[in-house]
Amino acid sequence: MLLEISGLTKKFGGLQALSDFNVRLEEGSATALIGPNGSGKTTAFNLASGFYKPTSGTIRFGGQDIRALKPHEITALGMARTFQNIRLWQDMTVLDNIRISQHHRLGYSIWDCFLWTRRFRRQEREIDRYAYEMLECMGLMDYAHEYPRNLPYGLQRRVEIARAMSVRPRLLLLDEPAAGLNSADVGDLIQLIRWLRTEFKDLTIWMIEHQMRVVMSLCSSIKVIDFGRTIAEGPPEAIQSDPNVIKAYLGDENI
């Protein structure tokens, strides 16, 4: 079990953003988390990636309790994520974006950096090599020296996924990867994630996504939450016809 979350609760003052949330992600699986706006999906991601601290509950990643860790430490353990609204470093080249995401792998200190020691040169070469490799296989080679802000939205998404992948994650959290994409771009995105799953064998994917097309074609299991509580869980086909889910999205018939 790669990620095991049980009884997770998060309160912001009096607001219960997430209550008694449980999830178990099998290595190599792809799971979706869906729910209406404000249901606590992104809160769950923020808790998993260490950005929020849980009010109660446990989070175990690869068997290790990660509640006390800082976000960068959790990332270094192999959990990477993308953001709902793209958060690339807009004033650096795409290449630098990919390079800096390997920060946890740097094994040199500031002194190596001043003196350009052998260790420094080896590490920088390694980072460069990996960054170019990543750009190459993500089909971004032509944009290595562009600034993200000059790229179309679909490509920015791709760069963000490439940046997350350059962390060399075991678990990839995708927060609405298809938001704001046109249907051609969504097709590309599905292709890309499929390809990632075949290329990186053990990669586990956990995504928040509303577009049923994406969820249906990528995920084997779906979890639906509403007002912080889990209301349904199961394979996509079952979820689609689940009365609770329909109620949460479309409202009750008997109003």
Binding site: F51, K70, Q102, I110
Partner: protein, 360 residues
Amino acid sequence: MQKYSFKALLLAITVGFVLAVHFQLVDQYVTTVAMLMGINIILSTSLNVVNGYMGEFSCGHAGFMCVGAYVSSVLSVLLFTKDRVFGPALLPEEFAVIGVPVVILIGGVAAALAGLIVAVPSFKTRGDYLAIITIAANYIIISCLENMDVIGGPRGFQGMKRVVGAMEDVWDIPWMPVLVLVGTILSVWAIRRFVSSTYGKGISAICQDEVAAEIMSVNTNKMKLVAFMLSSGLAGVAGGLFAHVYGYVNPQSFNILKSTECLVMVYLGGMGSLSGSVLSAIVFTLLIEALRFAIPALNSLAHQLHMVPASYEIGQVWKWVVLPLILILTMQFRPEGFMGKKELSDFFPFLKKFYQRLED
């Protein structure tokens, strides 16, 4: 060949300058201005690490300069010369030749430690609040020194001239110009290597999106600590050089006005541009010196033309009208500074070949 040409040029300038000073081809005044220029270059480039590359707003740079200046001055007077307060020198005076550079570096280390005063609050706050904290840090440092009577308090501290004199007795070369030149080149070189490495680029990531930086494996607290310590440490080195050039330090010469000067140099040159900071430090120093002559000239001209009342003299105070005015105009018409985020090599591509690259 090309790879070494930039280094060769630097070496030629260094040797040429030292020889010129040594054989008194340039006068004392020009030498002092040149040294001041070097010190200003260290100050502006080091402040640029925090204010430009990391995007924080530190306004207390002179405070760290002050720590470096006092620590290195006290140590060098204590160790290498006879003093009224500290008694005889602890080490033979001849040791000053090696000792003074070491002592200046120790001043830098002390200033880097003082940088923690600012770095630790920066974990939680940024922007305006951090600016206030840095100003407070500047005042704390100055007030502490003003209340230490052992080292002169508000009257200041001197005796470094004797140490520099002792160095010249051992080996008759113009020590201070050499040290300032070496210090300037080394600190610009260190900053350049820092900000162009993947490690150092972490601070640019913090500048552009701190949340994304933390999530994408950059240890933001550690990088802030490193950047603040590097910046304040180099300011301390600049302070140590300053103290030994003038032979006299006084807490009030490191007050908020000095910090403002550092800020002006960074903002004129462009935040996040190293060559911008170097150029603006040079231009700024020359401008201040030019005003020293221009203001009296203007004064006599105005009097001849009867444009001001005979009883009024246009004094050097007007310097503090002209310099802020330049800042206001820059912010109005070119808010990103003269160079913006660009380096000199972006404007003149032929310079690119002079920059060293990591060989593949």
